[in-house]
Subunit: 155 residues, 2 copies
Amino acid sequence: MVKRTSFEGDGCPVARSLEAIGDWWTLLIIREAMLGLRRFGEFQSKLGMAKNILSARLRSMLDHGILAMVPASDGSAYQEYVLTPKGRGLFPILVALRQWSEEFDDTPEEIDTIMIDRAKGRPVKKLELHAEDGRLLSLADITLKPRSAPRRRSA
Amino acid sequence: MVKRTSFEGDGCPVARSLEAIGDWWTLLIIREAMLGLRRFGEFQSKLGMAKNILSARLRSMLDHGILAMVPASDGSAYQEYVLTPKGRGLFPILVALRQWSEEFDDTPEEIDTIMIDRAKGRPVKKLELHAEDGRLLSLADITLKPRSAPRRRSA
DNA sequence: CTTGTGTGGTTGCATCATAAAACCAATTGG
DNA sequence: CCAATTGGTTTTATGATGCAACCACACAAG
């Protein structure tokens, strides 16, 4: 089996997230959903992607509980795709991706939008990771610990 | 050409980041690099991936300036792969992926590690997005603005 | 009720990327 | 110098992607 090496059984939470949203198009669909798109045709025309791929990704996100179908909206009998709380929880990931590009992209002049605080119209600050006591943490300040090592048979 | 729809020309910074690190294995390689792995064989045996794919991903990351080759380290004539500042800048993305899994995974008991503050040995807080004035921002509090639209030089 | 149009998909290929294994060169070790 | 390890490349098979064509349903007009 070649199977594209599913990360389902992996205990690494990064791998587990990638299992759900690591596809090529998934995060872009979620980005558009966060900007308010809801209909199949809206995603398809905005992203310019093949309809079968869009269909497969939407179904995968439904299965993962990232999107939900709501039976109505503007009166028509069609359905719409809306983010669940789990889907909205992806927001920091999108922000992190955006800010990495803003900070390190080789041709930042090609970036066409900036994220601003709606209330003040000012750019947002960088995402920050803090300790429980409030200290700002970077890569060098953290480490990983086994969770609680329950009886984990290597079955 | 089918070409997998490269996002190179896209002005969306999320797409631009995904162009560099949206591959299946790239973020896992970076995760291991952040944990201290440096050698080809270390990545290959730790991740259990095919060597040709690892080779292609490492080269891609070198091209993108995420990794660099350093000619020595422990005295041997081999080379090692180390994160550049741009590569270390991916840290918030990894944290965001991890925290999303921790918060929303359907089977969180399978997650085998937690990220802790090295100094205190306590779990870290969630990533937070703040406005310039310090207010905590969520998805509903932000919007996107065109970067520098006014200059309408007719090409 | 029949035709027409737009939405929301599915189905077939052709092509590309990925995976596993075999192979190979250079390094190191004895 | 011979053998094993490291660090890959090549080969081949299969799964994923992309495009276009097709199809089902809703809705509106005649």
